[in-house]
Amino acid sequence: MKKVSLMPLIIVFITTVSFTLFQAKPWNAPADKAKVVNTVKSSAASIAEGKTLWSTHCASCHGKAGLGDGSKSAQLATTPPDFTKAAFQSQTDGSLFYKTSEGRGDMPSFKKKIADQEDIWNLVNYMRSLKK
C-alpha cells in the first residue's frame, strides 16, 4: 500500500495557523483621536519642515520615500507599511497624528522626542505628500 507523506499537510496546517494567530493586529486610532483636525495647513513650508523631521526620525525604518524600505526595516518584527498606497493614505490626519505621537511595538512614541505638536502635524502633511 502506498504511504502518504504527512509533511505537506503539516506545512499547510502550520502556515494556516500562523496566518490566523500571528497576523499583525490592526492598529486603529481611538475614534476621538482619529477625528482631531489637522491645525497646520499643508504648505511648501510645512512639508519642508516635515521632510526634515522625516529624514531624522522616520526614514531609517520607513524609507526615504515612505515605501517601508528603510535600512532598519529588515530588523523589525513588524514590516513598515507602504505610505504611498491608498490603504495608508485613507487614514485621517488625526489618526496619523495619534500613531506618530503614541507609537506601538516597533514604532516608537515621538510625543517626547518631537515635543511641539505643530511639528507632528508638519510630519503628517509630509506623509500626505508621499501619496502616489
Binding site: V36, V40, T56, H57, F97, K112, E118, W121
Partner: protein, 309 residues
Amino acid sequence: MKIFIYYSSLTRPLQKYFLAITLLFGTSQLIAQDTININPPVVKKKSFVKNTFDGNYIIDNQTAVIPIKGTFEFDIQHRFGTIENGWKDLGGLFANANMLLGFSYVPFNDLQIGFSATNDRMQTAGTIKYALVKQTKNNSMPLSVTFFGNTVMDTRAKNSSLPIINVQDRFSYFSQLIFARKINDKISLQVAPSFSYFNNVEAYYDIHNVIQSKTNNGHVAISVAGRYKLTDGMSLIANYDQPLTQHPMNNPNPNLALGLDMKTSGHDFQIFLGNYGYILPQNNNVYNRNNFSKSQFLIGFNISRLWNF
C-alpha cells in the same frame, strides 16, 4: 635650573557668580513650566527657530542649541595625536589621545546641566548652559544668545611634582556667550566670546628673585563656527578660535577645524580635523600649542547619544 612656582588667586567671587546664575535661571524656568502638555492637541503659534545646529557641540565649542526638556545626553569625545608623524603613528591614531565621557540633562526648558570627566590631568567638570534669548521666525529676535559655563577640578593626587598646594589650586572656570543665527535652512553661524580663568598658573623667579607669572590667570578668546547642511542628515562644520589676551609668555595658538556632522533620531556624530588637542574649552583656549601654519592638525570626534524622558 629653572624654578617653577604656581600661585593661587581668590575663587570666591567667581563661585558666587556661578551660584547666582544657577539660582536666577533655575527659578525663572520653574515659573514657565505650566504651558505645555495641552490635550487634546491644540497647536500654539510657533515662534522660535529650530535646529540652528544639530546638537550641543560644534567641534571644540558648544552651540547655542539646548535640547528639549527631559533630554538626557551621553557624550563621548576623543582627540588623537597630531597627524604630522604620518605613517609612523598612523596620523596620530596610535599616539596619546585625550578622551572625555560626559552626561547632561535638561530639567527645564532652555536649561541644561552636565558633568564630565577627561583623562587629561584627571579633570572633572560641572557645566551649565542656558538659552537667554532665542531667534524667532518672524525675525523680531534675529539672534539666539546662550550662556555656557563650567567649573573644572583637577583631581590628581597631591604630590611634590604637582603645582597643587591648596584645594582652590585645582579649579579653573570657563564662561562663554554664544550668539547664533540660523541664516537659512542650510547655513547657521555663531560667534562666541569666552573668558577662561585658572586659579593656578605657571610662574618663575626673575633675576631679582621676584615671582613672575608666565601667563595671566584670565584669558579672553573668541570663536566663530558655522554649519552648512549637505543633506537633511549630514552637514559640513567649521570652527575657528582666536585667542585675544596677550600673556607675558606661552601665548596659545589659534584653532582651525573642519569636519562632518551626521545626525540621526537619537545620535549626533562629528568627525573633524583641527588643532585643539584638549577637550575642555579653557585648556584648549589657554594651552593650545598646535599650530595650523605648521600643519599640526589632529583627528577628533564627538558622539552624542540622546534619550528623552
